[in-house]
């Protein structure tokens, strides 16, 4: 039928009519059935103009008051003339209906007492070049099925009759056409660029709305049944009442939270704990309840310029989806004109980079603890379907208890201004860059938890191989296959783990160099450049593990899953399942819940971006270019769907 429809469409040739499959209304159709594709020849206005007349005629025929179409169908005395209606109402009797319809076409003399109808046919007949005469239905209302066939002959154009004219038996028109206007060709281009842009927003927002709502409803039902379970477990009326009241309040506060727009003014900044090209991370306290969070604010224009939007979105998605103890928790996201905000849990222990700077090297036991935890964390991210691609000490945070959580606080320190995605392409072409300041990595990809296409992940799950082509990450810890652009897979994160482990035990990352260009070259030539210094004694198992991670992807440990690492002899005796519950080797000593001892806050300029931006705007508006914002920030296309609200935000 599809083919037929297409062919028919091609035959028409006179217009661009296109019908989606869903627009077809016939439940079952013989292959020759014409699709309701036409209208080209008859201006809609003409059809409209016919209405009164057609209507009048029907009145004259003593038809029931009401709208013309139904009257036409049901009151016509000649059954042959409305095969279409019969067809639609008696699907079981198709065959005979077809034939009677056919007869109707062939034999009924011009029952057409409406000259306009004939005229309309004439128009479309001309348009159709005579090839498909039966396809002239004129969606316009004036034509009632009772008046079929509207043969051209009635107007003096000699058509010898459908039966002889066509090989296929004539078919009734889809009845829909007689009641409804004919299908309309979609023409988005008749509207301006703004409308088409708004179209995208509107479509995206609507589908996001339903996606979010369905997810929330599902979770709500889940909580509901959990509550009912709890209620059934006790008969104590007080207990039951309290379960019920707590449940209702929690749901109620979540609803309230959903309809409340969050804004940065709801928070007091305590300290800026990280800064980068795209934004900053602040320790904040919510004014309303005194709760402490890490608030990351990203500068929209920078994200936009640097093409980071997909990455922001991916990060928001993974953080929003994840409920893992190994991933930093995202409570809510919101935005205003200039910034995107991510409200996350504050991890007071600082990051592994700061620890490494402080201690230079770790003992093998301590290394074992952190590397084992990072194995679990990477595994958790992979289970969510994400490849981190930028595992590095800066992104490994320590919580209150000194346990590891992955994040992307890569914003912390030491960014270069070079963040283009083609940065590595420049490197490949041998262009060297400014020397890097000390150990800090280059942020190619500040938003590091990067999703690869979900369907690709499913492909990978089937084929055990995901190929994704892009170059991201920061040089020191990045696997060579990411640079070379031949595709990489989940195991690229295990390479990074190997380099971190090397650094923990040796004191510097294995491929560190004066500038990133050299680092890159070293990584690509890892077979030559991987070198364990003679003066540092590494355990055999430790060195073996590092070497089985820093190697080509085909041989890399972890390719088949994290269990390959867990069973490596370096981890002998490690109980992975209870790892997070044991005491960590370093536990942060904190004096309060807003203690930032473990963040290098003195090295960070404490003027926040919003303040700088305001100053800049004040300067520019003094120069005579007033800022104007006409759209609400949520409506700005690239940032649609960014807003996220987690249920348990209020109930930690």
């Amino acid at each position: 039928m599809d083919n037929q429809g297409n062919r028919l469409y091609l035959n028409f040739g006179s217009n661009n009519e296109r019908l989606a499959a869903t627009d077809r209304t016939y439940p079952t159709t013989p292959s020759t059935f014409p699709q309701p594709v036409f209208q080209g020849g008859q201006p809609a206005t003409q059809g409209a103009a016919q209405q009164p007349q057609a209507y009048q005629q029907q009145q004259q025929q003593q038809q029931q008051p009401g709208y013309a179409s139904s009257a036409g169908y049901f009151q016509q005395p000649n059954p042959q003339q409305y095969g279409a209606a019969q067809y639609s109402s008696q699907p079981g009797a198709q065959a005979s209906d077809y034939s009677s319809a056919g007869q109707g076409y062939g034999q009924t003399p011009g029952a057409n007492n409406d000259p306009n109808t004939g005229l309309a046919h004439q128009f479309s007949h001309q348009n159709l070049g005579g090839a498909v005469p039966r396809a002239a239905p004129y969606g316009a209302r004036g034509v009632s099925p009772g008046q079929r066939p509207r043969t051209a002959g009635a107007q003096g154009q000699q058509q010898p009759g459908y039966g002889t004219h066509l090989n296929a038996p004539p078919m009734p028109q889809p009845p829909q056409l007689d009641y409804f206007a004919p299908p309309l060709e979609r023409n988005p281009d008749k509207y301006g660029p703004n409308a088409n842009n708004n179209q995208k927003k509107c479509s995206q927002l609507a589908s996001d709305f339903f996606k979010d709502s369905v997810k929330r409803a599902r979770e709500r039902n889940q909580r509901q049944s959990e509550m009912e379970q709890k209620l059934s477990e006790t008969t104590d009326p007080r207990r039951r009442e309290s379960i019920w009241a707590t449940g209702g309040r929690r749901e109620g506060s979540y609803l309230r939270f959903l309809r409340t727009k969050d804004k940065p003014e709801n928070y007091n900044t305590i300290k800026i704990i990280g800064k980068g090209a795209f934004g900053e991370v602040k320790l904040v306290q919510k004014k309303a309840d005194g709760k402490v969070y890490a608030m990351k604010s990203l500068i929209k224009t920078e994200m936009f310029k640097k093409d980071q939007l997909a990455h922001v979105r991916a990060e928001r998605d993974i953080l929003a989806e994840s409920d893992s103890p190994w991933v930093v928790k995202l409570f809510t996201t919101f935005q205003d004109t200039n910034f995107l905000y991510m409200l996350m849990e504050f991890l007071p222990g600082g990051d592994l980079m700061t620890m490494l700077i402080k201690y230079e090297i770790f003992s093998e036991d301590i290394t074992r603890f952190y590397i084992a935890e990072i194995v679990l964390a990477i595994e958790a991210v992979h289970k969510l379907g994400f490849i981190h691609r930028d595992i590095k000490p800066d992104n490994i945070l320590l919580d209150r208890g000194g346990h590891v959580k992955l994040t992307d606080f890569g914003l912390s320190t030491g960014f270069h201004k070079l963040h283009d995605n083609n940065y590595y392409q420049q490197l490949l072409q041998g262009k060297s860059n400014k020397p890097r300041d000390n150990r800090h990595s280059i942020a190619i990809d500040q938003i590091n938890l990067t999703v690869s296409n979900r369907s690709q992940i499913n492909d990978w799950r089937r084929s055990r191989r995901l190929m994704a082509y892009s170059t991201v990450g920061t040089p020191d810890y990045i696997a060579p296959e990411i640079f070379t652009g031949h595709g990489y897979s989940f195991d690229c994160d295990w390479w990074s783990l190997g380099t971190i482990m090397f650094e923990c035990l040796v004191g510097w990352p294995p491929f560190c160099a004066e500038d990133s260009h050299d680092t890159y070259r070293k990584i690509v030539n890892w077979r030559q450049s991987l070198y364990f210094p003679d003066d540092i004694q590494l355990g055999v198992e430790a060195e073996n593990l590092i070497r089985s991670l820093i190697c080509n992807s085909e041989n890399r440990l972890g390719r088949g899953g994290a269990h390959e690492l867990k069973s490596h002899s370096f981890f002998r005796g490690v109980e992975f399942d209870s790892l997070r519950r044991i005491r960590a080797p370093f536990e942060p000593r904190l004096t309060s819940n807003i203690d930032t001892t473990y963040f290098p806050t003195d090295e960070i300029d404490q003027t926040d971006n919003a303040t700088m931006l305001k100053a800049a705007q004040a300067r520019s508006s003094a120069g005579g270019t007033p800022q104007q914002q006409e759209e609400s920030p949520e409506m700005s296309l690239p940032f649609i769907g960014y807003t996220f609200k987690r249920f348990d935000n209020n109930f930690r």
């Binding site: 029931q64 509550m227 309230r256 939270f257």
Partner: protein, 340 residues
């Protein structure tokens, strides 16, 4: 100048179904000084089309459909709606489809423990956000400064030939129904609604004020029988909260009705947004009726689509919207399209 929505409220509606008096009985009970609630609408039976002038006398109101006897056919009911011919595009079942599958009621049935006021507030805000995504499409300016819905295309706030709405302007302490272009009407309404939603006295946001819905089988509390109780009281919603919500839903309904009658093809269909509109609107109708925020009569301009959605399974049989629908009319529409 102060403005308020025109029209008559639900109680008065029945008495003014005759020829469209632009003057709508109003009960300006507002204390906020600029708008009163609830709004209503002015029916416009006077039709400008030749077609209807040639019609024999028709039932005074399409709402008679509700009263139509068991013997009346789907066609009878559809006739009583006095729809233009050909039928509006959005009544074509081929264009009444959705971007969502499944039972919409999962989204609108209140969790038993949640306070009714909180649930209403939640849906007011959600539907308001949804609806304005579509309004944005027809109201935002192209480079030439033109909007798709403008005072030329839509000189009145109309929903088809049979319904149009006037705005009440307050001059000299009297409310005068004023005919406004749809764009102006909608903009003023938008301002009014967002004023309400952003008013934390009307829509409290303090998380500590949240209460829950009492469950007699769990806790014995005498409730809601006393005259001093109202929806949402214990969660901090004001006394007139429910009636304000009702007005908001009614006004939003009018915007949807205008979008369907005036902008379904131009531009929403052309921009491939009709399924999105259908899903948002059907969710809206299901929610508003489930919350008793829209009465059957208020649904008139969109009744045939509601019938169709009841017939094609969009509205689940347990929903109020389904109850308000004329199944025969909906089934007939499906037949017309060869879908039943």
């Amino acid at each position: 100048m102060s403005n308020l929505f025109s029209g008559i409220n639900a109680r008065l509606r029945g008495t003014s179904s005759k020829q469209g008096s632009g003057k709508s009985p109003v009960s300006p009970t507002s204390e906020d000084g600029h708008l009163s609630s609830p709004g209503g609408f002015a029916r416009r039976s006077k039709s400008s089309s030749n077609l209807s002038s040639k019609l024999p006398p028709l039932p005074a109101s399409p709402s008679l459909a509700q009263a139509i006897t068991l013997t009346s056919t789907g066609d009878d009911i559809l006739n009583s709606y006095r729809l233009p011919q050909p039928l509006p595009m959005w009544l074509n079942p081929a264009y009444a489809k959705h971007i969502v599958k499944g039972n919409f009621m999962t989204l609108s049935s209140r969790p038993k423990s949640v306070d009714q006021g909180e649930w209403m507030a939640h849906h007011v805000v959600e539907h308001y956000r949804n609806l304005w995504n579509f309004v944005h499409v027809v109201h935002s300016k192209e480079a030439d400064g033109k909007t798709i819905c403008n005072s030329t295309t839509c000189p009145r706030m109309s929903a088809g030939p049979n319904h149009s709405y006037t705005w009440l302007n307050k001059t000299n302490n009297r409310y005068e129904p004023t005919e406004l272009a749809a764009i102006d009407y909608i903009s003023m309404m938008q301002r009014w609604i967002s004023g309400k939603i952003e008013d934390t006295n009307m829509f409290p946001t303090d998380p500590s004020g949240v209460s829950f819905s009492h469950n007699p089988s769990i806790a014995n509390v005498a409730l809601l029988s006393s005259p001093d109780e109202w929806v949402g009281k214990r969660s901090g919603f004001p006394k007139d909260f429910a009636s304000i919500c009702q007005t908001i839903f009614l006004q939003m309904f009018r915007v949807y009705a205008h979008l369907y009658w005036a902008h379904f093809a131009e531009p929403l269909y052309h921009l491939n947004l009709e399924k999105q509109l259908n899903s948002c609107f059907s969710h809206f109708v299901l929610t508003a009726t489930a919350l008793d925020m829209l009465k059957p009569k208020e649904l008139e301009p969109m009744q045939p689509l509601i019938d169709l959605w009841a017939a094609n399974g969009t509205f689940p049989p347990e929903s109020k919207a389904y109850e308000y629908a004329n199944l025969k009319a909906g089934t007939r529409l499906l037949q017309m399209a060869g879908m039943a």
